[in-house]
Symmetry: D2
Subunit: 368 residues, 4 copies
């Protein structure tokens, strides 16, 4: 490899995820350990593009003190993570019109001017795409995978996912006692636009009765059938866990939506499922949307550890001369995979995987 590393920067992109601070801590301490300086870019790449916005500077030195006692903290010490994508950054021209601009060259220039030798980029599929683009332009880059949804390929797991599943499970546990006390159906909507990992894992762990995920289009009739089967067995309550991205089978028509005109179409999938269950079963149904609750908070021990391991692995990868790769978990090891391979959020729940089979054996219905 070209010149030896002396200074690196780290940034975080995409939504909040428990474990971000633990990754940052491990990156910083591992870098300092090698005698490298480490800098943090604030709010995605905004710290580079709009330095004046930040009184203390848009790119700040990260010291041992900066990362003291942050392993267990939710959020990120680098600030808001879902700022503009530098490949199509939101701009305003002189006449006030909005347009988008590729500003990756500015990032490259910034690194050169400041003598920064490499970037550690934390984020999901979008951020890995940006990291890849920067890598193609010559920047040394190591990516670290982060999606709550666990839908990133080439890594068995992403950090933040275990925390999200754990809290969703705790919430479903709580809702179960209430559903039972009130003889109700409770519909729990969790994150998962493209993949049903959170719904599946929390639904199994909390003994839900129906789980609806994007990978398995559901039938309204089958949802109702499960609830009625339970009713006949004297279980007059049910828990239905729904991933945001779940949708009905082609031929399965909503009786509720047929009544509504286009304008009043229902909001999220959770609302749709709740209303439909009430309409079809005559039972009281209630919706609980967990959404934002799953993004934040202190990481579980599992997420703390995997985050620290990812952070340290990224620095070792840099040291070994790697670039254009993402660290990934291939248990029990952490490995590196080319960023070229990880630009899509396409890791769906395998239909023949053992988790789906387990759920079916436990009597959980996917309404298929």
């Amino acid at each position: 490899m070209s010149r030896p590393i002396k200074k690196i920067a780290i940034n975080t992109g995409g939504g909040d995820a428990p474990g971000l601070n633990a990754v940052i801590r491990a990156v910083v301490l591992s870098a300092l350990n090698r005698g490298w300086e480490c800098y943090g870019i604030r709010e995605g790449f905004r710290g580079i593009f709009e330095p004046k916005f930040f009184p203390g500077g848009g790119v700040i030195p990260l010291t041992r003190e900066s990362v003291n006692n942050i392993t267990h903290l939710g959020g990120t010490i680098l600030g808001a993570t879902n700022r503009g994508n530098p490949l199509e950054y939101p701009m305003t021209d002189a006449s006030g019109n909005s347009y988008k601009k590729d500003r990756t060259d500015e990032i490259i220039s910034f690194f050169e001017q400041e003598g920064l030798d490499a970037l550690i980029a934390l984020g999901g599929d979008g951020s890995m795409g940006i990291a890849n683009a920067l890598s193609k332009k010559g920047l040394r880059v190591i990516g670290i995978p982060k999606t709550i949804d666990n839908d990133l390929n080439h890594t068995v797991i992403t950090f933040g996912f275990d925390t999200a599943v754990s809290f969703a499970t705790e919430c479903i546990d709580r809702l179960k006692s209430t559903a039972q006390s009130h003889n109700r159906v409770i519909v729990v909507e969790v994150m998962g636009r493209y993949a049903g990992w959170i719904a599946l894992n929390s639904g199994i762990s909390a003994d839900a009765h129906v789980i609806l995920i994007p990978e398995i289009p559901y039938s309204w009739e089958k949802i109702v059938a499960k609830i009625q089967e339970r009713e006949e067995n004297g279980k007059r309550y049910s828990i239905v866990v729904v991933a945001e991205g779940a949708f009905p089978q082609g031929g399965s028509v909503s009786v509720v939506e047929k009544k509504l005109d286009q304008e009043a179409r229902l909001g999220g999938v959770g609302e749709r499922v709740t209303k439909e269950i009430e309409a079809r079963t005559g039972k009281e149904a209630r919706l609980v949307v967990l959404g934002h609750l799953l993004r934040g908070g202190s990481p579980t021990t599992f997420d703390r550890l995997i985050s620290l391991r990812f952070g340290a692995a990224a620095i070792r990868a840099l040291e070994e001369g790697k670039t254009g790769v993402m660290v990934a978990l291939d248990p029990p090891k952490v490995k590196c995979v080319p960023l070229d391979l990880v630009t899509e959020r396409n890791k769906q729940v395998p239909l023949d995987g053992d988790s789906i089979m387990t759920a079916r054996d436990l009597g959980i219905s996917f309404a298929d």
Copy 2:
């Protein structure tokens, strides 16, 4: 007092609350300890009115085994709690028309026929009213106060409240890191139709920035002012905790609702506040409704203990010949208060109480 007690029954009314099972355990063990038999009426009073509905019987013996290992369980082993009010029980006549009927005499008769000497009635204001009516008709009755909302008078606290406040606080903690990472306003709607106890206690404990409660009508302008004050101090996120029953001051007009026609009027207070904040500040705001999450789940240690103490105190009260009273917490003691005094949910947060003063000193705004 008349005849000595040999057999008693217990029932639970109103919504789910963490601690119900702990109360039942203490009632049953305390009764058995005195050589009394103890029976559980299933699903409110339904076990008496519709015994055939329950394969195992509508009123079941409760033994040591029945209450083994249930202190920490959410829900209630007696089943759904919010069944019909016996003072106006929902009925259907021969031609299928609905009407309401006072069925308390049937309860009295049932107790006489079955040789049941007393009733332990768990519930909120509604259930205490029923208990009082039964007491006036000659039944020996001891009430045990239960509202998640803590709005029952004559007791410093009700069981279930500490669990609700604790979980709400944990949720707000989680949402804070997300709000901060995304520079957003997050509005958290919690229970509290008549009183703001949950909103106030969880909002203070989790360092919220704005708390809206029924006791203090809010001004839209003041909500916005607080968010903007924070913005100017570089804190680009805010947490607003709203009790279900909060409402705006007379002269404070919603800019969002003015635009909407009557039909499309917004649902809950949380939605209204969220939309209004977005409209007025231009910032992203998100709503999280905790509702049902606060009713269920395993009771906190505080609630376990107070529930067990209430249950045991109710049996001691019966033994001492008391009737027509409710056990109540008057720290450090448990005392009895006449049921005549506790028929309203009217314990509101005192405006000159030290919790309100504490919140103000911490810089929390009530938007008043």
Copy 3:
């Protein structure tokens, strides 16, 4: 009132307790709100006596930033709390001999020199005694009660206690499943040298089988009797919760200790009870000492709130011209009591209180 208040200081004494940081936050924000400056004395009074020890200064300004986001943090931002008592501060003379000295006059002088108008003193009985002594010498002082053990008189509860009881309960819950799986007796030693509050409340909440507290001397025979009674009922495991300060009845002789010579005398009460149970019952018994685990950690929601209320109340008391008093909880209010009254740790569990009666009704033995 003498001169108006412009600058105050806060210190923390005695052992760690969850909620210390929340108190500090409320004191600081409430003081700043009134336009007062607020200073923190580091490590008890050491910051005054040995300022050179602290690179950043022994008495440091506390700002909004200093107390940001600390409500939920265990420990104290002011550093080690159990430093020397200024009434008998450990000293070393020129020849290296140790002696003790009353250094309260130096504290008074320091406050005068620095223009500090009042002291907020956090701590247990020892710290309240010091606060009282300072008050008698003319310093304006408000005390805030802190003992994990809850054994301070004139306040229904002290902060930190709910957290300790909650974690002890969680630990006993865990140990129960293990005791049951292994058919063992597990002895759990908890804090409580003078009073059995933690043992009693956690033992009841976690459905322990025997609770030993200083207020009720135990009989070895009765401990064994309870374990054997359970055995006969097919429950081949038992949980015994022991407060540090529990001790046997006069006539109840240990079979284990009789065998041991003076030197080898057993350590803590937990060890003694465990060995004795093994010797007398022939069952496997295991000891778990929770000690330090109960002191630390994030405060429960209950403790967060009471801590914040205490802190704010202390500043209001100062504002109202009070001095020589301690804030105290008299639910639902926070009140002030003269420091003269609170110099002993003598609030024991009342033997005729309803908690003891509740425990007995639940079948828990005090081995008396």
Copy 4:
């Protein structure tokens, strides 16, 4: 395969582990789903050997009702797990002398007599050895790996481990604030006789300062050096996590033990390390032994899921005609490995693994 399966039995061996009940639930529901009957052997194999000991029968039918709502419960519904090993079962002859006997033939006979077609055996290395022996004698057997310690080979993880690590981490978090408040060294002893997995993972996750594991013999001098290095940096507290099986390097002599005679030799490794640190550094050191606390309690979501997956996979394996194998996690899949391969607890922490490297980069010392 011989005859089709109609009836199976399940047993649990070895110590308690969170997740046992979840495994049982998945085994039972998966079996019933296939129309098989399922039986539970109580207390290891004691239910077969001493049926009269169990009033309700030593081998009991397991129904849907038996396994309702048990996923999250600690312990096992089959009772004490660490009963005698049937390969060398403790016996007493007519004259009262103890001896050991291989009773596996009785198990085989029992299965034949009762028409039981297969055994699902849960346990650690010992139980897998027994399962293997039974398999060699012709019984259809599927093993399910369980050790808290995670030291079983051929599976990436065992159930119960994540719960143990998580609770250890929470405990260390709590102890940290106390250590800091008191300027102390706190030594935390965790399980791990042969391998340091729990110490390593919890020590990293909780930002411990020294971790001592069986895989890396420690030097007293290096432990002291780390504590003093921190002291010099103004960090006057340290957390030392010690696995039960950790031991000093050959040449590293204890100053404490040298003073003690043979009899008084110190107990566990934790006590030895604590005393030595006090003797060498002059600082206050305190020991906390987590031991039994890590075995019990409700499983984490991670352990719930892996337990359910293991249970369901065992039944699928039987259905596919497999025998003499153990289910194992090879993420993201569950696979089967021959029992012949898993008879030793020999999966130690790899010294060149990324977790060790991560710990070193975080500044954690292994005192090597």
